[in-house]
C-alpha cells in the first residue's frame, strides 16, 4: 500500500504539492488526473524516489521510499520524458535494467518484443515518439515490478498499441497483483482502465474514488416543468454543480444517483425527468469548474 501523509514538495518559491494525503491500495489501477501543473508528475517522482520530499512522508508497505533500494527494486517508473542510454538499442537497455532490477525477466522481455512491433537491435534514438514509449513500457513490464508508475503512458501510442498495453496491464494485475499508478490527460483512456481515480489540483488531492462510484456519484439530468418553478428551489435540496434553464426545460449536473434525482424532480412536478451518468471527462470538467478552473468563462 502506498501512503502519502501531508506530502510537500517545493521547487524554489513554487509549491508543487502541499500537504497531499492519500492511500493507494495494492492491486489497484489508480488514475491520477489533474490540470497542467497540478503536481501529478511530481507525485509520481516522489513515489519513485526520484525526488526527496520537503515535508510529510511517502511510504510503500510502511517504508519510506527515498534511497530505499528494497522498495525501489519493486517499483518501475516510466517518465513522461523518456531517457535511454546514448547510442543504445533495446537489448542494451534490457541488459542495463537486468543488472539493476532483481525481478527483470529475460523471457518476458523476449515475449514482449514479439508483441510490440519493434526491432530490439535497432538504435532507440532512431525510434519515433510512440515507439520509444513502447520500448519504455516493455522495459517496465519486463522488470516485473510490484508498482508500475506510468506518467502520460499512452502519449504517442496508436489505438492498437493502446489496446495492447491496456490488455497487458490488466493481465499483469490479474496474475501478479501489480499496482499501477497512471497519469493521463486522456480521461477516456483512464475511464476504461482504472478502478480508482484521484483528482489533483494545486498540489492537493481534491477527491479520490472508485471509478464506478465516481460515475454513479454524478449525474446529468434533463427535466421539463410547466409551469416553471424557481431554480433556487432545487438548490436547497440538491447538490447542484451546474444548472441552466431554457423555456420549460432544465438541465443540471448534480452530485448523486440519477434515479434518486429524477424521482425528486418528478415529485416536484416535473413533466418528465431523465438522468444519465457523467463521463470521467465531464466529472473532471465540472469539478474543476467548481474550483474556478473554468475555461467557458474565458472571453476572447
Amino acid at each position: 500500500m502506498i501512503k502519502a501523509t501531508s506530502l510537500v514538495k517545493c521547487f524554489g518559491d513554487f509549491t508543487a504539492l502541499s500537504a497531499l494525503t492519500t492511500e493507494i491500495h495494492k492491486g489497484s489501477i489508480y488514475g491520477l488526473v489533474g490540470s497542467n501543473g497540478s503536481g501529478k508528475s511530481t507525485f509520481l517522482r516522489l513515489i519513485a524516489g526520484v525526488y526527496m520530499p520537503d515535508g510529510g512522508t511517502i511510504e510503500i508497505d510502511g517504508q519510506p521510499v527515498f534511497e530505499n533500494t528494497q522498495i525501489k527494486d519493486k517499483t518501475f517508473f516510466v517518465a513522461d520524458d523518456l531517457y535511454f542510454l546514448p547510442q543504445s538499442n533495446m537489448n542494451d537497455m534490457a541488459k542495463f535494467y537486468k543488472s539493476i532490477y532483481s525481478t527483470f525477466s529475460e523471457e518476458k522481455y523476449a515475449k514482449l518484443c514479439t508483441i510490440f512491433p519493434l526491432d530490439p537491435r535497432k538504435k532507440i534514438n532512431t525510434f519515433s515518439k510512440g515507439m520509444k514509449r513502447q520500448a519504455a513500457i516493455i522495459m517496465g513490464l519486463a522488470s516485473q515490478p510490484d508498482l508500475l508508475l506510468l506518467d502520460e503512458a499512452f502519449d504517442g501510442l496508436d489505438p492498437i498499441i493502446r489496446g495492447a498495453v491496456r490488455k497487458l496491464l490488466s493481465d499483469e494485475i490479474a496474475s501478479r497483483d501489480m499496482t499501477v499508478i497512471i497519469t493521463s490527460h486522456n480521461l477516456r483512456e483512464l475511464e476504461d482502465l482504472c478502478d480508482h481515480v484521484g483528482l489533483l489540483h494545486k498540489g492537493e488531492i481534491m477527491f479520490e474514488r472508485e471509478i464506478d462510484e465516481l460515475k454513479l456519484g454524478f449525474c446529468k439530468v434533463h427535466a421539463a416543468f410547466n409551469p416553471m418553478i424557481p431554480l433556487e428551489e432545487f438548490k436547497k435540496d440538491l447538490s447542484i454543480m451546474q444548472i441552466s434553464a431554457t423555456g420549460s426545460l432544465i438541465n443540471m449536473v448534480v452530485r448523486g444517483i440519477s434515479s434518486e434525482v429524477s424521482e425528486y424532480l418528478l415529485e416536484k412536478g416535473a413533466l418528465f425527468a431523465e438522468g444519465v451518468p457523467l463521463t470521467l471527462e465531464e466529472v473532471f470538467i465540472h469539478e474543476m469548474e467548481a474550483v474556478g478552473y473554468d475555461y467557458n468563462n474565458i472571453i476572447f
Partner: protein, 782 residues
C-alpha cells in the same frame, strides 16, 4: 522464490560496474591509444635513438647510462614531449570522465531513470568512480611496467630510479583520482555540465593561482619579502593538477631537491587523503541532492559564491598587476587598488550574468560583489600596509642565536663550496654545493647586521614598485641583493631580502670586513688547504704583467699564512682610506679536496696593498715582485670612466668596501686606437649637441641643465689621458679598496705590446682638479 533476496547490493554493484564500463569501453580504448602514443612510444623513441651524432665519452656512459638521453622525472620515464602531453592527458581525462559519468545528474530525464533505480546514490557514485579509476589506471600502470622493463633491459637495473618511477606513477594516479573526485563533487552540487566544467577548473587552479598571485604581490610590494625557490615549488603542491607536472622538473643534486621532494611526497599522500575525504563529502551531498536541480543554472548555494569570490580575487589582482606593469599611473599603490576594484567588479558582473543566464538578478546581487571586491582589496591592503608589521620586524639581539647572510664582504665573489663524499648519491657521484651564505654568531657582528637592517627598513629605499620614487636624487643606490635569515632562540627563523639599499646603509656593514667570523667563511685563503693549491698567479694592478708560480706545499702553506696574517691585520681605517697604492694581485687555483670538505674553493685572490705586508715580503724573497713592477713609460694611454649619476660598481661582489677582482675582465676593446677614436668622437658630439641646444632654444639654458641633459643622454663620461704626467698621477691614485659611499672612477691602462689589463679603481677625490675637470660634463659643454 523471488530473486530479490539473492540480488545483493554487491551483485548489483558489480553488474552495474560492468555495464557502465562496457558502455565506456570506446573511451577507454581511445585514451589507451592516445596515452600509448604520448607516453611509452615517446620513451621507446628516445631510448632507442641513435647516438651517432653525440661525442660519446665511455666513462660518462659507464657512470651514468642515461647521460646522453633526455629523460625527465626522477624515474627517468618521461621525455620532453611525453612530459607535456601526459600532463595534459592526466588532467583532462579525469575531468572528461567526471563530466561524462555524472552527466545523468544534469539531465532531468536521465535523473528520472537513474534516481528511480534500486541502487543507492552513494553506490552509484562509487561505481562511476571505480569505472573512472579503471579507465585511467589500467593503461597507465601497464605502460609504466612496459617502460620499466625496457629501462632495465636497455640501461640496467637501478632500484632508486625504478622506485621513483613507481612513486611517480602512483602520484599521477592519485592526482587523477582527486581531479575526478573534485569533478564528481562539483557535478553533485550543480545542475549543468557547463557549470560542472567551469567550477571544476576554477577550483583545481584556484589554490596555486591565488597563492602565486599573492606571492607576486608580496614580492612586488612587501618590503623585505622574497619568495624563495622552495616556496615557489610548494605552490604547485596545492593542486592535483600541478603537483605531478612540477615533479618532472626535479633532478637529484639540486640545492633544494631533498626538501622539495619530501614536501612533494607528503603532498601525494595528502592528496590521497583529500581525495577520500572529498569522495565521502560528495557521497553525503549526493544523498541529499535534489534531482530537480538538473538542467538548472547554478546560482544559489555556497559553491557558486566560492567560485565568484575566486574569480573576483584573481581577476581583480590580475587587472591591478597588468595596469601596474604598463605603468598607467605614477601612484603605484592607489593605481593598483583602483584597477583591482575595476577588474574585480567587472569579473563579478560577468560571472553573475553567466551563472544566472541574464541580468535580472544583477542589481540585487551587487552588494555581494562589492563585498567580494572589498575582501580582495583588504587582502592587498595587508601587503600595502606593511604586512601586519612584516616590513619593520627585526628581532631583538637577545632573541637571536645566529644570523645567516649572503653578504661576504669584498672577497665575496670567491664562491665557497662544500664538496662530497658526504654529499653523494648511490652511484658514487660527488656533488659540490655552493655555500651562498655565512653564519654570524658573535653578538657584535649580529648587532652590526641589525643596525644595517634597521637602517634599510627605516628608509625603505628601492622596493621594486612601491618605493622606487622615494629614493632622493642625491642618494646613491647599490644592489647587493642581501638576504638575512635570523635564527631565533625559540627555534624559528625570520628571513628578509633586500635587492637594493643606499650606500650609507651599505657602509654600516663595513665593520664586518675585518671580523674573523666573516673572513674565515668568506675568503678562500682562510679555508683552503695548501695541499690542494695547484698554482699561483701574480700580476701587477694593471694586468700588464702576470707570472705563474708553482710552489711547494710548504711554500703554499707559508704564503697562505702570510695572506691570512695580512688580511687579519688590516684595520677598517686602512681599508677605508688606503695610504699606499696597491702593488699587485696574488691569486691561486686549487683543486677540490679528495677527502671532501665542508668549505673549500677552487680559487682565491689577495690584493697586495703595502710593502709592509708579509705577502709582499714572501713574494719579494722569491723575486716575483720585481718581475711584475709595471713600466708606466710604456703606457700608451689611460681610458677613464666616471659614472654620470650614482657611482654604480661593476663586478660581482658588492660590499661596503669595494675592490677590484682579477676575475673581472676589461670592458673595453683591446684595440686602443679604436677606443680612443670613439671616445673622442663621442666628446665632440656631446659638445656639438650642447652648442646646438644653446643656439636653438630661445630662453637661456643653464650650463648645469645642459650637463644634466647630456649626462642623461650619453651616460657615463669617458676620457682618454695620454700625457705622461697624467698617467703617473692616475697610477698613483689607484687604491686597493674604496668605501661604497665614495665616488670612484675606473681606469684602464693600455700598455704597449699588451692586451688591455684589469681595470683599476681610483677615488674621485684623489684626482687632481685638472683631471676632475676633464671628467665633468659641466666643463666639457662650456
Amino acid at each position: 522464490m523471488t530473486t530479490t533476496t539473492s540480488f545483493s547490493d554487491q551483485k548489483r554493484f558489480s553488474q552495474l560496474y560492468r555495464a557502465i564500463f562496457r558502455r565506456n569501453i570506446g573511451y577507454f580504448s581511445m585514451y589507451a591509444v592516445i596515452l600509448f602514443i604520448f607516453y611509452p612510444l615517446q620513451y621507446l623513441i628516445e631510448a632507442f635513438k641513435s647516438l651517432k651524432h653525440y661525442d660519446i665519452n665511455a666513462l660518462t656512459l659507464a657512470m651514468d647510462p642515461f647521460a646522453y638521453y633526455n629523460f625527465n622525472g626522477l624515474g627517468k620515464n618521461f621525455t620532453g614531449v611525453s612530459s607535456v602531453f601526459v600532463t595534459v592527458i592526466m588532467a583532462a581525462i579525469p575531468i572528461i570522465l567526471g563530466l561524462m559519468l555524472q552527466s545523468y545528474m544534469h539531465s532531468k530525464k536521465a535523473a528520472d531513470v537513474y534516481h528511480s533505480m534500486p541502487i543507492k546514490r552513494e553506490t552509484l557514485l562509487l561505481v562511476n568512480a571505480m569505472v573512472a579509476v579503471t579507465i585511467i589506471a589500467v593503461p597507465m600502470i601497464v605502460y609504466t611496467l612496459l617502460i620499466a622493463v625496457v629501462q632495465i633491459a636497455k640501461f640496467g637495473f637501478f632500484p632508486s630510479v625504478l622506485g621513483y618511477m613507481c612513486l611517480d606513477t602512483l602520484g599521477w594516479l592519485v592526482c587523477s583520482f582527486v581531479i575526478y573526485i573534485v569533478t564528481a563533487l562539483v557535478a553533485v552540487c550543480v545542475g549543468t555540465v557547463f557549470d560542472t566544467f567551469v567550477f571544476t577548473c576554477v577550483l583545481l587552479f584556484a589554490a596555486p593561482v591565488i597563492s602565486g598571485l599573492y606571492l607576486v604581490l608580496c614580492d612586488m610590494f612587501l618590503f623585505g619579502f622574497r619568495a624563495n625557490q622552495l616556496t615557489s615549488y610548494l605552490i604547485f603542491n596545492f593542486s592535483p593538477i600541478t603537483l605531478m607536472p612540477c615533479r618532472l622538473g626535479f633532478y637529484e643534486g639540486s640545492d633544494i631537491y631533498t626538501q622539495v621532494l619530501f614536501h612533494s611526497n607528503i603532498s601525494i599522500l595528502l592528496m590521497l587523503v583529500i581525495g577520500c575525504v572529498l569522495f565521502v563529502l560528495a557521497a553525503r551531498l549526493y544523498r541529499r541532492r535534489h534531482s530537480e536541480i538538473a538542467e538548472q543554472a547554478t546560482s544559489s548555494g555556497i559553491l557558486p559564491k566560492i567560485i565568484m569570490l575566486i574569480g573576483t580575487v584573481v581577476c581583480g589582482v590580475c587587472f591591478g598587476l597588468i595596469f601596474q606593469m604598463v605603468g598607467v599611473s605614477d601612484n603605484n599603490k592607489l593605481s593598483f587598488i583602483m584597477w583591482t576594484i575595476i577588474g574585480g567588479l567587472l569579473a563579478y558582473i560577468i560571472m553573475e550574468v553567466i551563472f544566472n543566464r541574464g541580468f535580472k538578478t544583477l542589481v540585487r546581487s551587487l552588494p555581494l560583489g562589492a563585498g567580494m571586491v572589498v575582501l580582495t582589496v583588504g587582502l592587498i591592503s595587508l601587503i600595502f600596509t606593511g604586512g601586519l608589521g612584516y616590513e619593520n620586524r627585526i628581532p631583538s639581539i637577545e632573541n637571536i642565536s645566529s644570523v645567516e647572510v649572503n653578504y661576504k664582504g669584498r672577497y665575496g665573489d670567491s664562491d665557497p663550496m662544500a664538496v662530497g663524499p658526504y654529499i653523494s648519491d648511490d652511484e658514487g657521484h660527488t656533488f659540490t654545493k655552493r655555500l651562498a651564505t655565512i653564519t654570524l654568531e658573535q653578538k657584535e657582528n649580529i648587532e652590526t647586521l641589525r643596525l644595517f637592517h634597521q637602517d634599510v627598513t627605516g628608509k625603505k629605499y628601492g622596493s621594486q614598485w612601491s618605493s622606487r620614487k622615494n629614493v632622493p636624487d642625491d642618494v646613491s643606490m647599490v644592489y647587493p641583493n642581501i638576504v638575512i635569515t635570523y635564527h631565533l632562540s625559540n627555534g624559528r627563523t625570520l628571513t628578509r631580502a633586500y635587492d637594493s639599499c643606499d650606500v650609507e646603509s651599505m657602509m654600516l656593514l663595513a665593520p664586518l670586513e675585518t671580523q674573523p667570523e666573516l673572513l674565515y667563511q668568506a675568503y678562500p685563503a682562510f679555508y683552503t688547504e695548501p695541499e690542494n693549491i695547484v698554482e699561483w698567479y701574480v700580476q701587477d694592478m694593471f694586468g700588464s704583467k702576470e707570472m705563474k708560480q708553482i710552489y711547494s706545499q710548504a711554500d703554499s702553506a707559508k704564503l697562505l699564512e702570510a695572506i691570512r696574517t695580512d688580511i687579519s691585520a688590516l684595520t677598517l681605517e686602512q681599508l677605508s682610506d688606503p695610504k699606499d697604492s696597491p702593488i699587485g694581485i696574488l691569486s691561486f687555483n686549487a683543486q677540490l679536496p679528495k677527502q671532501g670538505s665542508e668549505r673549500c674553493s677552487t680559487g682565491g685572490y689577495f690584493i697586495i696593498s703595502s710593502r709592509e705586508q708579509e705577502t709582499y715580503k714572501f713574494l719579494k724573497s722569491k723575486g716575483v715582485i720585481d718581475e711584475i713592477t709595471p713600466d708606466l713609460s710604456k703606457v700608451k694611454g689611460v681610458v677613464v670612466s666616471v659614472s654620470s649619476g650614482n657611482y654604480y660598481r661593476y663586478g660581482s661582489a658588492i660590499s661596503a668596501l669595494y675592490q677590484i677582482s682579477p676575475d673581472y675582465n676589461e670592458f673595453y676593446s683591446a684595440d686602443y686606437d679604436n677606443i680612443k677614436d670613439s671616445i673622442q668622437e663621442r666628446i665632440r658630439m656631446i659638445k656639438e649637441d650642447a652648442k646646438m641646444k644653446e643656439q636653438t632654444v630661445t630662453e637661456e639654458v643653464y650650463v648645469e641643465d645642459r650637463a644634466v641633459a647630456a649626462a642623461s643622454y650619453y651616460g657615463d663620461l669617458e676620457q682618454v689621458f695620454e700625457n705622461e704626467a697624467d698617467i703617473r698621477v692616475l697610477a698613483q691614485a689607484v687604491t686597493a679598496t674604496i668605501p661604497a659611499n665614495e665616488k670612484l672612477v675606473y681606469a684602464n691602462f693600455y700598455f704597449e705590446g699588451t692586451a688591455t689589463g684589469t681595470p683599476v679603481m681610483i677615488p674621485y677625490s684623489k684626482l687632481p682638479a685638472e683631471i676632475q675637470k676633464q671628467l665633468d660634463y659641466n666643463e666639457i659643454i662650456k
